[in-house]
Symmetry: C2
Subunit: 666 residues, 2 copies
């Protein structure tokens, strides 16, 4: 990388620092006391450069570092462990760990069963598919995932997104079987996308969804989900299929004219209050942490029993029953309907569309939901990894998540991913009998109860604290956040997503198009420190010399801006100098430290700048260019163009040399 | 911008540099000998910040700077001059300038007339539309454009692009009238797009087409255009409509079986050789610069006369005539056909589709061709501006080009833009009679002659020298260049364009996703200079302290990478330290100089890094953060998190302080 480093210092007045070297012709005519021989043969350079760039881009985490210097038998075991991390941590598994896992698993199971049913409703699927998705995917993940803390299952945002995208293609109320098939198709392609992204090590692509955009998107989705639950909470029968706030509120108010079902509302609201109280207790008193976790299940059981006992469903309280019944009526194949009642996931590989028009639609929906699912899973994985201080291999995670969703799509699951509201749910494999029992119980659960569980679960997604912090730190991030939020709330989940991604991209592009530049001055009581005079107003300018720092790589997207901005700084300063009748500028020093790279356009811009300065009789001097930049300046013969002794190690060296030459000139 | 700058130094051992300040509570408990009061009141900060960001993005060239401190009458005149620059330079116009302009204009007219006809053919339009497009648009530009050197007219690439896009919608051979109407519609919307981009000051968007991509695109287009001319040059009758090299060559070879027209080929090849010779003469002998310029016209006239005299068209030499005749037959409105013969642009405002399906198609085509046209015009404008050292207002240019194309679309012109092969053609308004006469003469020009003129003109677009330089300087640019070239040659103009833009974007995104990081060491024989040890292998590491520099703003797209890369540097170095039984690391210093900005994700990453280091008992120290970063670290309370005295002005200060503390510890 660092060949042809040939910074030069022209004057004897400079501190005798020299980083000069040139690996081919080290017999430079000028006397350089320290010549750095760089050991890389020039011919291998290109290949090495490309290899290094590919490695940093795709294998930044150096996944094969453990394999180095190992015998081949050990390599095989390491390879197996890389694919199935369970082989690594399984060795150290013991009874006391199992006890902890068991308790956690049971606690979580009781929390997530009502949630699963609710999330399945968001995806317009029958409740048992939510439960199925909490069974197979965590099992697969347990074998392949590298995170020991991530909890797998259906999540609110992905369920909502999937439901809203699928509903656009097939109406779930008129064609529930086709809808379900499309859901499995989308799940299959979501898994495939995740797997391929991980396999090709393209995991970094999801970094382009910024944190701010996700906060806004999640908040918007939470509001949308909560609004959708008004249907169940208020017992409204005719409800809009749209998710935006305007349609939902007009739906609510138009239904108010027909009279609300006060029984339902009473159940829903009182349960919502109850849930909030238990949440508050769990937050205040750490030892009651299990109260909010277990509360929904208890109340589901109590309400189901009481509804069954009082037959409240005859008095207008809508219950989940009819969906369940509908499902039984639909299942065409008797075999499958049989296995459905058993509580174990029935196979669904025959239900996936692998060809036809719906394969393409399923693919599109799968890709979109896979990205959102990945974003959530990776964010959670990273949070736990940084808390417990271990490294997470994002690409390996994606392969695990992908496999899990591919298998899931063949066993009646829809898209599952990491969920914040659970932990250690991947050990829940023991409780399938409990699951199947509770599914039966859920038949009499009032819709209002489910609605309150969902509302209570998603309210936590509206992260006011994070929004406040984003506002304080970065206004542009705040715009992205609000754009995503209002996009979801006022239009649809997809529009919110597009807004979030576009603003994130726009931010990157803006940064690259308009890099910062600054005038430097000498910080008082230092000999060599030159800093931005806006940041350090005490810093003094050097008469006759203008020092500008460019704060970014100079690429085609900003090269013209950089050139023109520097000329504008010069014009401004020249005006200022004239007014105060100070000496005119003879040198322009560009501090190149932050310029990490330059391309052909950047070099053109520098050449144009050099010519423009030549016409004004001002000499161009560069300070502290990085290795890549020096390389390219050399390759383009820019160094020869601006002349010898014009590139220095530090700004201080450059200033001292220029200053000493200036005194010789008139 | 630079409020709450509160860098701290904790030890008395530091050089007494301090840039510390806090503008609200300057009564800091620690003794800071130099407190920099920053004069910006904190409350105005947000608005000022936004205003500054908007100004740098959209008004980087400060277009209103001349208006400052002027009386309002002067402001009005300046405003008029801003819209019509002719008012400014018109004052100084005199007879001697006019003489120069006249000669230049006549020379150019003689060069561009055969070219115009050829370019019109590329766009599948009748030859007179090429000439019309060389008349009105330059006239408009002369009044509104800010460049004094740019030459306006139809250009090869835009003509080809327009022809290929329009042909996809309407077949020019079966429906030439509808085709022409769509061409004017596309021209109208191209002008509108340019005008709007300029008016909204979004001109910087075209910076995203990188130089390398344009070189490749132009080269590919030149090859495609030259290939298309094989039809005329070889006198082939049945020729493919596709532009890719495979279809064209198979077309050429299949026609060879039917026998070529040797008369046509002889005329074409001999003329091509003649043109190349005159070009060579013009290049070698500067005083014969007019030879290549005038040669095409002379040969057009000679060949036309000889064809007319010998009636060679009866012997199989195809001539332009039939196109011209076709045009006369098509024109439905007698009025227009009358004015067509007069040699002055006929109005075409009624031919533009403002509604219906073709309006949308015309809009799409217009937007695409406007971007390519703009790229070419701005590139030329900038070249001349930097040669003659004046500033070009890109946005004002766009307004001029847009107006010119809008008016052009109403006066029978198709998309015109700046053209490299002419200069000062904007003064050609005097030669309309000559134009109309020569149009008549062109009726008998052989197709082979036109083909050679076009080939000779576009060969210059294949810029081998630029490609070589790109290869030398930046390999990624080279890939973009080749991608665009082969996309155009092997597929189509549109595909090449998409490839060029995608690779350009990918490059920006890659830079932002994988910023460089480096380990720093102290350069020998300096007291305070810390540099990349890969670039300066003599630089020595400080025992017990790891110094890392991050070479980019830390944003959501790279925050995780940066964090993990720093931890990987640490792991690598710790391994190295263990092997050599050196003291373990106690401090990690991050040189933040090149970190120009940080967002919420970046701060999260720093917090996670801090926690990871804490677990390893390593202290995190920052050096030289910029004003924006200090602001945000303060807002996010990161400064409080890492503790006092952990942010220094320079790496040297940080090292000195850390070193003195380390000696106290065990």
């Amino acid at each position: 990388m660092a060949k042809n480093v040939s910074d030069e210092h022209g004057s004897k007045g400079v501190e005798t620092i020299s980083s000069s070297s040139s690996c081919q012709s080290s017999s430079s005519p000028r006397s350089s006391p320290y010549v750095h021989e760089v050991g890389v043969p020039p011919k291998q350079n290109l290949l090495k450069e490309i290899a290094a760039a590919v490695k940093e881009t795709l294998f930044a985490d150096d996944p094969l570092r453990h394999f180095k210097d190992q015998p081949s038998s050990k390599k095989f075991i390491l390879g197996l462990q890389a694919i199935f991390p369970i082989l690594e941590w399984g060795k150290h598994y013991n009874l006391s760990k199992f006890k902890g896992d068991l308790i956690a698993g049971l606690t979580i199971a009781s929390l997530c069963i009502p949630q699963d049913i609710g999330y399945a409703k968001l995806a317009n699927l029958e409740p048992q598919y939510g439960l199925y998705s909490s069974f197979v995917p965590p099992l697969i993940y347990a074998f392949m995932g590298s995170s020991r803390d991530i909890a797998i299952g259906p999540v609110a945002v992905v369920s909502l997104l999937l439901g809203s995208l699928l509903q656009d293609e097939i109406d779930s109320s008129t064609n529930p079987v086709g809808y379900r098939h499309l859901a499995f198709t989308a799940t299959f392609f979501a898994g495939l996308t995740q797997f391929i992204l991980g396999f090709l090590r393209l995991g970094f692509l999801i970094d382009f969804l910024s944190h701010a955009a996700i906060v806004g998107f999640m908040g918007g989705a939470a509001v949308t989900i909560a609004l959708q639950q008004l249907k169940g909470l208020l017992g409204i029968k005719k409800f809009t299929k749209d998710t935006n706030i305007v349609s939902v509120m007009s739906s609510v108010f138009s239904s108010a004219r027909h009279g609300w079902n006060w029984n339902t509302i009473l159940i829903g609201i009182s349960f919502l209050i109850f849930l909030s109280v238990t949440k508050y207790i769990g937050k205040k008193q750490k030892k009651f942490f299990w109260v909010p976790a277990i509360a929904p299940l208890i109340f589901v059981i109590i309400s189901t029993v009481s509804v069954y006992a009082t037959r409240a469903d005859k008095h207008g309280v809508e219950i989940v029953k009819n969906i369940r019944k509908g499902c039984w009526e639909e299942t065409e194949q008797p075999k499958q309907s049989e296995s459905t009642t058993g509580g174990i996931n029935p196979p669904s590989v025959k239900e996936i569309f692998f060809s036809g028009q719906y394969a393409g639609k399923g693919f599109k929906i799968g890709v979109v939901s896979s990205m959102i699912a990945l974003t959530e899973a990776v964010a959670i994985g990273r949070t736990f990894a940084s808390m417990k201080d271990y490294q997470l291999d994002g690409n390996k995670e994606m392969i695990a998540l992908g496999t899990m969703n591919i298998v899931g799509s063949m066993t009646s699951c829809y898209v599952a991913t990491g969920s914040f509201s659970r932990s250690a749910v991947n050990y829940m494999s023991g409780c399938e009998t409990a699951v199947s029992n509770i599914v039966m119980a859920c038949v009499y659960t009032p819709n209002a109860i489910l609605a309150s569980i969902i509302i209570s679960a998603v309210v936590g997604l509206v992260d006011i604290e994070a929004v406040t912090l984003i506002w304080k730190i970065d206004k542009f991030d705040f715009i992205a956040c609000m754009g995503a939020f209002f996009g979801v709330v006022f239009s649809s989940v997809e529009v919110g997503l597009v807004i979030a991604v576009s603003i994130s991209f726009a931010k990157i592009l803006l940064q690259v198009t308009r890099p910062r530049t600054a005038i430097l001055g000498k910080v008082p009581r230092t000999a060599t420190v030159y800093r931005n005079i806006q940041q350090y107003p005490d810093a003094t300018k050097v008469p006759g010399i203008l020092i500008v720092r460019v704060d970014s790589a100079i690429y085609f997207s900003n090269s013209n801006y950089v050139k023109e901005r520097i000329l504008r700084w010069l014009a401004d300063e020249e005006e200022h100098v004239k007014e105060n009748s100070q000496p005119r500028f003879q040198y322009l020093i560009i501090e190149m430290g932050p310029v990490t790279d330059i391309d052909t356009c950047g070099i053109h811009a520098l050449e144009e700048l050099f010519r423009a300065l030549q016409k004004r009789d001002i000499k161009l001097v560069l300070a502290n260019p990085g290795p890549v930049v020096v390389d390219k300046l050399h390759a383009s013969k820019f160094q020869e163009l601006i002349g010898e002794g014009r590139i220095f190690l530090t700004v201080a060296d450059a200033v001292r040399t220029c200053y000493s030459k200036m005194e010789l000139e008139p």
